[in-house]
């Protein structure tokens, strides 16, 4: 059977133009862009209280501007020497008036500590045999100094105090760095896996890339599946399809609509993504490093995508995956005639996409070479994971090429099914045609060629 594409351009441009003219689609377009644009803002607003609480448990960064603290008193009860000059190393402490107290003076001060004064006491406890140093902060009961600010001042002092303590033991800067640097502990792995991971790619990099890619593809597939199916059903239920398929090749009709809806969804993502980037940069500017957006960018590492070869592979896979899921949506959409059946049509596509998404989010943990190769060659699912495996060095270039060939072949197979069945499916205005019947229509056995719709 010949595949003809006459009229594709006309169907594509008409569908795209009318989609953007249609009030419903325009509303969805604007709605989705606004939602994506506001996402960083919403993330920050909703997460602010929680983020503040969580972040203050680790580290509080308080700006030296607009401080509520009017006076800091330091009472050093230990043998570690701390001078006013030492405190100049802290941006926060250098911005505040600091007064040193002699041991015992703090008792009198505690009774008359004002609402904008903070007392820091450094003490040493030898009761357990080994010396234990403690830095504590004290404010009045009615203190106007916020918890974050109190803790920041105390922690800034403790940091300087800690360094001075090591220096008092005559340790070099490198020895101090070595002591305070800590140790990163990794889970035990087999020798084989240890070598597989030896590609210079960290699991953080792989996870960041996998999640970014899977989320973007998932959003694109979900939106386009729903829009493609709606668009096809709308045309079938309008009964205009009778007149259309006497004017244009069925494959052009389906592909034109699919491509138009893909463009629509891509435009949503590009505009929404752009809006999200813009709003996140504004949020970052306003909230500084306190913003949840800034925290997220710290968690995910997208540096793998900065390499041109990786970026190209990702882009190619992304386009292939998008085409594959879109044309599968076209086949599923042409098998139904009523909008009520849309959910049934969407289910298999969404299940495949969901499966791929789940695999992608776990892909950095899949290290078995056989499993990686097999998963990379399963049509549909592999589009979510094969590029990640390749970047992580878990599959080679041969498997990657095979991955592209398998999925391109699947794409052509789906196009062939569309071309062979759409004319017949378009005439079906009854119940949903099961997908296995669609396959039988596309590839009939000789003796059953006259099978009905």
């Amino acid at each position: 059977m010949k595949i003809r594409l006459g009229g594709l351009r006309e169907v594509f441009s008409f569908t795209l133009r009318e989609t953007f003219k249609d009030k419903r689609y325009r509303s969805s377009f604007i709605g989705m862009i606004v939602t994506l644009t506001l996402m960083p803002v919403i993330t920050n607003i909703s997460g602010l209280a929680g983020a503040n609480a969580a972040v203050s448990s680790f580290e509080v960064n308080v700006s030296s501007d607009n401080l509520a603290t009017g006076q800091v008193y330091v009472c050093n009860k230990t043998d570690v020497p701390v001078t006013a000059d030492d405190l100049q190393e802290s941006e926060l402490l250098s911005a505040l008036p600091v007064k040193f107290l002699e041991d015992g003076e703090e008792t009198a001060l505690l009774k008359e500590l004002s609402d904008r004064e903070l007392l820091i006491i450094a003490s040493r406890d030898d009761s357990s045999g080994l010396p234990v140093y403690e830095v504590s902060g004290i404010v009045s009961d009615e203190s106007e100094i916020g918890t974050n600010e109190q803790e920041s001042i105390r922690d800034s002092f403790a940091e300087i105090y800690s360094t001075l303590r090591y220096e008092s033991l005559n340790l070099s800067q490198s020895a101090i760095g070595s002591i305070t640097g800590g140790i990163s502990i990794a889970s035990p792995v087999s020798e084989e896996k240890y070598h597989l991971g030896d590609t210079g790619v960290t699991s953080d990099e792989l996870m960041g890339t996998a999640i970014l890619y899977a989320v973007a593809l998932m959003i694109l597939v979900s939106l386009s599946t729903s829009f493609i199916i709606s668009s096809l059903v709308e045309e079938k239920s309008s009964r205009l399809v009778d007149m259309l398929i006497t004017s244009v090749d069925p494959l052009s009709l389906v592909l034109g609509k699919i491509l138009a809806m893909m463009c629509y969804v891509t435009a949503v993502l590009i505009c929404g993504g752009g809006g999200a980037l813009l709003s996140s940069s504004i949020v970052k500017k306003i909230m500084g490093s306190n913003s949840a957006v800034a925290d997220l960018s710290g968690i995910f590492d997208f540096s793998l995508l900065m390499k041109p070869a990786n970026a190209l592979i990702m882009l190619l896979t992304f386009v292939l995956a998008y085409m594959l899921y879109a044309i599968a949506s076209g086949v599923a959409g042409s098998a139904i005639s009523n909008p009520e059946d849309s959910q049934h049509a969407m289910s298999p596509i969404m299940m495949l996409s969901m499966g791929g998404y789940i695999l992608a989010t776990a892909s950095f943990a899949i290290t078995d070479p056989t499993a990686c190769t097999v998963l990379s060659l399963i049509p549909f699912l592999s589009t979510y994971i094969a590029p990640i495996f390749f970047m992580g060095g878990r599959i080679g270039i041969v498997v990657l090429i095979l991955f592209f060939l398998v999925n391109i072949a699947t794409l052509f197979l789906l196009a062939l099914i569309c071309a062979r069945t759409y004319r017949r499916l378009a005439m079906n205005d009854g119940a949903r045609v099961p997908l296995k019947t669609v396959f039988r229509m596309a590839f009939p056995k000789k003796e059953k060629e006259a099978a009905n719709v």
Binding site: E10, E18, E234, S238, R239, D242, M243, T246, R423
Partner: protein, 337 residues
């Protein structure tokens, strides 16, 4: 040009919906496919247009398989449909583009058909129908000319393009007819073209079909409206339960049934003479009779009896059966719509 439909068959499972249908057209004219609902008319048309796969048979246009690549086809489907929310003018332009009509020609044809079918106000919003347009010399009650924009057209707020869901069913059908005509087709296939149209719009469509016949177009029409079919068609096929029960030239078909309808008007009652000759009076009103005879001889026998008995015969009209009567005879009165 020639159209050959040869041995078309279609089965859905075990049920045969079209059973070896064949017909031919050697030149321009109108061919009618008649039949009750479910007889197989629309399925035959869909197979002709390659919308449905044929189990057997072929359709040839000038010796080539008929398709929109071998023939400029205009098709008015039985199940009417338009994109309900898209502007009508966009849909007309879309179909014109799909059929390869140039932009300039498209605009010309849209304008022509909009005027011809009296749907300008829906396609060119803001443009009032001819009857509602103010006369060029119209004045207000104060004797002043009404306000006009530059260029002499009435100052008017720009109206939004109309969409099909704002139109009546009849007007939507006219728009669909425009779509069928937009490519100036050589083969026009009209599936139930008159259904849903009021008498005024039916008359408009009738006159358009006459114009197309005069222009030498080939038209295939399926209809339940027998008077309309008789008005246009030279050849017919009557389908009954998937099979062609009657097929051929309409006049020859009628002749084959003989002259069996006698319309008679007299000045006296003739019931007794009718019984004497053995004819059946179907209807009688004030000495006007519709009589069924077995043929010309029986009609002449009746006339002789009447003349012999000095009955004044005002009208004696012996006719072939109407298409309606042939249809009812062939498919059964209980099946008729």
């Amino acid at each position: 040009m020639s159209l050959i439909v040869r041995d078309l068959s279609k089965k859905y499972g075990e049920k045969t919906v079209v059973d070896h249908i064949s017909f031919e057209m050697d030149g321009p004219g109108v061919y009618a496919l008649l039949g009750t609902n479910g007889a197989g008319k629309t399925t035959t048309i869909r197979m002709m247009l390659d919308m449905l796969e044929k189990d057997s048979g072929e359709v040839l246009w000038n010796g080539q398989p008929l398709s929109f690549t071998t023939c400029n086809i205009g098709y008015l489907a039985e199940e009417r449909g338009l994109y309900p929310k898209y502007p009508i003018i966009d849909q007309l332009r879309y179909f014109a583009k799909l059929r390869g009509v140039s932009d300039a020609e498209t605009e010309k044809r849209i304008k022509y058909w909009a005027e011809r079918l009296n749907v300008e106000e829906y396609i060119f919003p803001g443009k009032a129908p001819e009857a509602e347009k103010p006369a060029a010399t119209e004045s207000t009650s104060e004797g002043k000319a009404p306000a006009r924009a530059f260029g002499g057209t009435p100052a008017k707020k720009k109206e939004k393009p109309k969409t099909p869901d704002q139109l009546s069913k009849g007007n939507q059908q006219k728009i669909q007819f425009m779509i069928a005509m937009i490519s100036d087709p050589e083969l026009l296939i009209l599936d139930e073209p008159f259904s849903g149209l009021d008498p005024v719009n039916s008359d408009i469509l009738r006159s358009v079909i006459h114009e197309q016949i005069d222009a030498g177009k080939t038209i295939i029409m399926s209809s339940h409206q027998m008077p309309a079919v008789e008005e246009f068609c030279t050849d017919i096929t009557i389908l009954h339960r998937s099979r062609a029960v009657v097929s051929g030239n309409l006049n020859e078909i009628k002749k084959s049934y003989g002259r069996i309808n006698l319309s008679l008007k007299t000045e006296q009652d003739i019931t007794a003479y009718a019984q004497q000759v053995g004819v059946t009076i179907l209807n009688e009103k004030e000495f006007e009779y519709d009589i069924r005879v077995t043929g010309q001889d029986q009609a002449l026998d009746l006339l002789k009896v009447l003349v012999d008995n000095r009955i004044c015969v005002v009208r004696f009209d012996l006719r072939e059966p109407s298409l309606h009567e042939i249809f009812v005879k062939e498919v059964g009165a209980d099946n008729e719509d």
